[in-house]
Subunit: 314 residues, 2 copies
Amino acid sequence: MAAALALAERGVGQTGNNPSVGCIIVRDDVIIGRGWTQNGGRPHAEAMALQQAGSAAAGATIYVTLEPCAHQSERGPACAQLVRDARPAKVIGAINDPDARTAGQGFALLAEAGIAIEVGVMASEARRQLAGFFSRLERARPFVTLKMATSLDGQIALANGQSRWITGEYARAHAHVERARCDAILVGAGTVRIDAPRLDVRIAGLESRSPRKIMLGSGDAPQGWEVLRSLDDLGQLGCNTLLVEGGAKTASAFLRAGLVDRLLLYRAPILIGAGTACLGDIGLGNLDAAHGRWQISLSRRLGKDSIEVYDALI
Amino acid sequence: MAAALALAERGVGQTGNNPSVGCIIVRDDVIIGRGWTQNGGRPHAEAMALQQAGSAAAGATIYVTLEPCAHQSERGPACAQLVRDARPAKVIGAINDPDARTAGQGFALLAEAGIAIEVGVMASEARRQLAGFFSRLERARPFVTLKMATSLDGQIALANGQSRWITGEYARAHAHVERARCDAILVGAGTVRIDAPRLDVRIAGLESRSPRKIMLGSGDAPQGWEVLRSLDDLGQLGCNTLLVEGGAKTASAFLRAGLVDRLLLYRAPILIGAGTACLGDIGLGNLDAAHGRWQISLSRRLGKDSIEVYDALI
């Protein structure tokens, strides 16, 4: 299942609204099929792996990171049907599909056909990888990551506005990989006007993975950008994952609204002092309310800089 | 030498203006004497270790973290004389004493007596441990550590002033150990008026290690405190190590004056937003000038919080 999750990782940020799924087919301890959701969402992982395995899939064991879909679409037959027709001996899944059109019916269809089913293997890892897909289906809004790049004292610019560069090349490259992993990037209208950010993925080989660009606020957006007028309409973006890159006003608005699921904090070993703080009012009334909301899940050095990732606990 | 440095660590913050030194005497692979600078500065490490070793020191090897002093004082004979008279075969030292009254003469006296001398073993570690002693003698001011305890976004209080507590008990206990390791603690007059901090070491068994308390600024200090009217007079404190604990105005003044040698950064996994920033104006004109000044030397979790230590590079 770990190998299937690694395959699924390849599609993260590339599958549109479809979940990025991984699938591995094993027969007599040999992998005979590997698949992951392809760009744009099709073919699905199971279809790709089954095509590789061919008739050898009969009697084999199939590992899949998400329940095979049970609903037929105009773009092809349901994966549960494809899997059933391949007559594997066993299907091992990580988690059920939260999509109401599948939601257990995929595994049920296989079980009815006499195929052994085991569900729940590395479920939390799969849930984490598919957090955006689950967020859109269960909360009707994308999974939101807030990125901030600050000095040790939490500043994102000098008082005169100078902000290039606080972090170094490794941290900036890491941030570009994070861009490639999400469906859309959002910045505030003020940042668009002042910084005119390109928000694309500037890493050799990953340029094609540049996500949708969203401007939050009023005014005209640059060509090729979409506009979100209010956070109340966040769900209308329809994407699974959203990366919020600033500025301070936009970051604070997302935090104030309780809309941040994950915090990416890049920090440079510098002190700025009186400059531009990374956050403004986030609606905090007392210190007790600030505690217990964030849990660190990663801490790593990136050259002279560091990155910390915090997950929202509530 | 590592063991001698560990012995010296016991006296850090307890030896007044004397350097905290460690000494180990080894004969036939057996330790026959262990010493470290005692409270208030006397006896010296060498005297203590030689007393333990007695006549067995003749022909032994002596490890000492700092050159034995060559100047006689009314409080006892010079260590170099004591060591010479004990007739060891070899003396291994980490570094020379920067005190002009010794400055190589201690080792010279031993070499003249036919004792083998080796200097420079773990020199950088010893230099680091004795940074305060070297600072006072070479720069006529204490080695200054600035402590800040902040949220992830660099705030030390809410806008309404609430600051208890940002960090948890482990971080606070760590900060108290740091207090015990320094000679004096300084806070600004504003912090004295508003917070009335006790600045003592509240760890069982270490209460007696509470350092001198200094208030920076104008106005009357509480009983038992000393007053520093201006940073220009910093050297007049006469101590080896100083811990600056705040507030933001005082921290900024030290940074602006280029007087911070080490940064202790405690951070809690919370966001505060618009509150009280840990720093004000530190005199930074452009971002280039901010880079290359700090190098991380420690990063560790303390319960839910973290500590990072940065050393000044210039």
